[in-house]
Structures are given as C-alpha cells and as structure tokens.
Symmetry: C2
Subunit: 327 residues, 2 copies
C-alpha cells in the first residue's frame, strides 16, 4: 500500500504539503501541487480513510436508523438516502433497530466509536433527549424529535385530511380510521387531519390503534368489520395497515370498493401490486430521503441550515380501492 510518505518522497516535498494538497487547505504552491498530483497518479495513491479518521476523529459514514427494514416504506427511503449520500462521498450504514431500543443504542454506540459523521433517524424507539445529547449532527426523518433537530416530514395533517375527505367525497358514510402507534407523532398528525375533516363533514366514524404490521392489521380490522357492518370506508395511517384491511375485507367477502372503500398512507410501490390497487395518500418518499441526506450533510460540513422544518406535500393517488371521484 502506498502511503502519503511515498508520495511525498516521489514528489520531493514533505508529507504536510501532500496532505495540504489532498485536502485543499493551507498553502500549496502551483509547483508543489503539480509534483504531488503527478506522484499521486504515478503511484496510484489512495488515501487511507481509517488513518484519517483516527487522526481527525471524523469519518464519511452516515447512519440511517430504521425501525423495521421489512416495511417496504423504509427500504424505499433508504434507497434515496443512499443515492444522495453516495454522490457526496458518504457511505450509509443501515441500522435496522427492529423496534428494539437496545439494538438501536448498540448501533449508535458502535458507530459513534467509528466516528460516524451523523445520523438520520426514522425510528422512535429512544426518547428525544437521547438523540439530542448525541453531540452529533442528526436529522429526523418521517418524525419530529424536537425543534433543534432538522426535520423532514410529510405534511401529515394535510394527508390525514385529504384521505378522510376523499372517502367522504366518494360516498363513504361510516368511516374507520386506523391510527398508528400511539407514540409516533407523524401518525398522530395524520389523525388530527382526519379529525379535522370529520368535523367538517357529518359522517359517523370510529378509530382504533393498530401497529404498522400486516397481520395485526388484518385481524384487528376483520374483527371490527364483523362487529360493525355499517363501515363503508377505511382510512389507514399506513399502506401496510391498508393491505391488512384489504385482506380482511376479502376474507369477509366484502366488495372493494363497492361495499367498502380503503385508502392507505405512504405510497409504497407495493400498493400497486394489490388487487384492487391501493388508493393512498402518497408521501414523496424519494424526496424525503434525498432532502434528509442533504440536510444532514450540510450540517456535517458546517453549512448553514436554512430551514429546520421541511414539510413535504403529499398527494392523493387514486387507484382501485376507492370509487371514481364524485365531483
């Protein structure tokens, strides 16, 4: 392995000059720059990032903390983060916390020791102070941690409103709203938006807490649909829940969307695979991930953050689980 000393020798300068040239800081004469550049190319020199990390206590690693890699929403997000990070020369370490706080802490500790440059946090296993005390650049993605931490979220309230309104507009009179995990702020915002819409429309509705997991959603919804035959519209806080609801409807022989309309939330590509394809409030997943990555990198590189709250608009994607619009 060629080192910076080899390069220095070949270029006839000191290691300090080589380092300065490589990092573009300090003074380097034109002459020296040319010599170093030639030596680097001739020797095929590649900088050792481990040595650099040891010395600078920095790295080009970004941690992306995900609660559940098995929920398609997160891989789609991860892909966007990765895309952007790579173009800026950062490597993303995916941390699947599996909704286990211990696992998440373990990841954070391990990566801090590796001088990780920062974290993008999409999970909500740990409480806010824990992230705030990290002494590291952090971006909250798809959730709010606190006002000091730059945040990228969808306009969840608006989405909640839109989904509810869409069902009402299409004739649903008895709604079921599937709330997300109680401790998940974005899910609560969706609920607030939903309630908002309910106040402006006089339709009956009920709500139920439901984890973002298919099988649980299926059984919870199936039970409710059996107890309450009037329900003719379900709005889920996530597409995975909606998939469960759709399954439940099928299990009970309900015609979707004729007897029961369903709207999900997320806009994961899996929605298109279902039958009927899922109508949903689509988040701009790629954009969210991309912005989160950019904001984190800005922070890492000490650039000013213009706005701490990036609220991304959502959109209603009408597919098969709702009736044609009743305008």
């Amino acid at each position: 392995m060629t080192t910076i000393r080899d390069v220095a020798k070949k270029a006839g300068v000191s290691v300090a000059t080589v380092s300065r040239f490589l990092n573009g800081n300090g003074y380097v004469s034109q002459e020296a720059a040319i010599a170093v550049k030639a030596a680097v190319e001739e020797l095929n020199y590649e900088l050792n990032t481990v040595a650099r990390s040891l010395s600078t206590k920095k790295s080009n690693l970004i941690g992306l903390i995900l609660p559940d890699i098995t929920n398609p929403f997160f891989p789609e997000l991860a892909r966007a983060v990765e895309d952007v990070a790579l173009t800026y020369g950062y490597t993303v370490v995916l941390c699947n916390s599996d909704e286990d706080p211990k696992k998440e802490k373990n990841y954070i500790e391990t990566l801090k020791k590796k001088y990780i440059a920062g974290f993008i946090v999409t999970s909500n296993q740990l409480d806010a102070p824990h992230y705030a005390n990290l002494k590291l650049p952090v971006v909250a993605l798809d959730r709010v941690i606190n006002e000091q931490i730059p945040t990228v979220v969808s306009n969840n309230r608006q989405g909640g409103f839109m989904g509810a309104q869409a069902l009402v507009d299409r004739g649903s009179k008895n709604l079921l709203f599937l709330r997300g995990p109680e401790d998940f702020g974005s899910a609560n915002d969706r609920y607030i938006g939903f309630k908002d819409a309910m106040e402006r429309n006089s339709v009956a509705y009920e709500t139920v807490f439901c984890p973002f997991h298919f099988a649980e959603s299926e059984s919870i919804v199936e039970k409710i649909l059996q107890d309450n035959k009037d329900i003719d519209g379900i709005f889920a806080s996530s597409d995975v829940q909606a998939a469960g609801a759709l399954k439940a409807a099928h299990n009970l022989g309900l015609a979707v969307p004729k007897d029961l309309q369903i709207i999900g939330f997320d806009g994961i590509s899996m929605g298109e695979m279902m039958t009927p394809a899922l109508t949903t409030i689509a988040q701009d997943i790629y954009k969210m991930g991309a912005i989160a990555a950019r904001v984190l990198i800005k922070q890492i590189e000490g650039q000013p953050i213009d706005n701490f709250m990036n609220e991304i608009p959502v959109s209603l994607v009408v597919r098969g689980t709702t009736k044609g619009a009743v305008t």
Copy 2:
C-alpha cells in the same frame, strides 16, 4: 476519551499488557489481569476500533451486497444476516447495488479501504473472478460464484420441480413458466427443475424470460395470457413476478385459482398480503441469511469451513392461488 495508556497507568502495567489482556492473547498474569480489569471498569474504558483497525488492518465490518433493496426478499435476508452478525460482534454494512456494477464496485472499493472483514454477495452484477480476486472472505448467498467460494443457496432445482408438479397435481394442463434473469444461476436451476417435472408429465408449457420486477412481470404476463387463452397455470421464479402475474390475471378478469393457478418462488411475507394469498415455493430466508453470516464469520476468524455448499431445502406453501391439493 480514555485510552489504553490511561488504563495502563492506572493499573500499573504497560500498554502491552493491557492490550494482551483485552485481546486475550499472549501471557498475562492473574495479578495483572485483575488490575487491568479493575482499571478498565473504573475508567469506563472502551477500545477505539478505528485505531485498532489502522494497526491490525482488520475491522468488524461485514458487507452485504444486495442487488435491489426494494425487492422484499432482500430486506428479509438482510435482517437475518444482521441478527447473526450482531451476536458475533460484527456490524453489517448494507450495500444496495441497484443492479449497477459501478455502484457495486464503488462499494467494494470503499469498504476494502476500511479494512472490511468480508462480504456476503447476493448480487450478480460482477463476474466471478472479480469476487474471487478480492483477497477477502466472501460468501455467495442465493447464488453460486464458484466452487472455491462458500455458498448458501436454496435447493432451487428441487423447488422448480415441486412448483411445477404442484400445478400439475392440481389440474393445470397448460403451464407458463416465468424464467428469471438469464445470467442468474439460481433462476436457471429453478428452470431446470421445472423442465424435469415437465418431462415426467405430459402437459403443454411455454416459458418466458422476465425480470424480477412487478410492473414488467404484469405486462409480460398480461400479453401472454391474452395471446394464449389456454394457460391455466403459472409458475414464477420469484414472488414479485408472481404478484405481477396475479395482477395481470385480475386485469383480464381471470378467476384465480379457478381459471388460472399461480405459484411463486421465495416465500416473502408479501405473499400473504395478496388476494388470494400467494401459493409459493418458500425458501427458508432467515436460515439462508443466518448460515451465510455464520459461514462468513468462520472464514474471517480462520475456522475451518466444513462444507462449501449449503443447500437449504425449500417447501411448498399452499395458499390461495392454487386449488386444494388433488391427492
């Protein structure tokens, strides 16, 4: 940050002794061990892995190369790899190559510079020599690279046979087999198994190449079903393809499984979410990932590898896209 020198001072020994104690190699007297242990605890010392990596040219990082993080099969695999790696003290870096050889090479180069301990490769973007020349422990997962590289794959031939036979047993007389990407060995094994079954049963069949992507599968299958109304059974080389086929069937108003039976391959949990739920040849995804991780770690730690070819049995999971067994 407390260093090994702080510990040495506090324990009244040299850094070499501390290091030997920490790594459990070389001679350390009982007395010294106790003193060091106490000092470590008192000072809350934690070893700096970056410094260690620089010195040893080793790390506890494992790279997991995935072709497409968006295909649910891979996150499920990743989870298993991660689980096992974590218990052995390794950290997994997920490398989503996005089926782009350049991206994959970039990952490999970046991680080699970080003294990555080894790779688990599930992608097939690069040719065999590239992986073989890595000078690093490698495990091939869900694909074969060559005989020198330890391999974990499903019994794909058997799976191909089973799926085909299952359709025939359930009355399908005109099969369509969706082949996977031509350069993907495991998919070809599934095809071989399928053909084997075809030779033992006199049923008509046709095959078509089809990428492991939902939308393409849907349109390819829809076209074929329109051209050939006789097809009454589809066997897909992956569940994602099968999802596309199911969608195509729905688009054309075909009753599944009455008019058309469908069997997928993989056993991803998404199969349960579809309607009807997908009958499939299930791979033991968790087991595959777990074994791959263990075999890689064995290699890394210089332990002997008992068998280079780990073929994991598959199983037929009968759900809703096939008729009840005709025994």
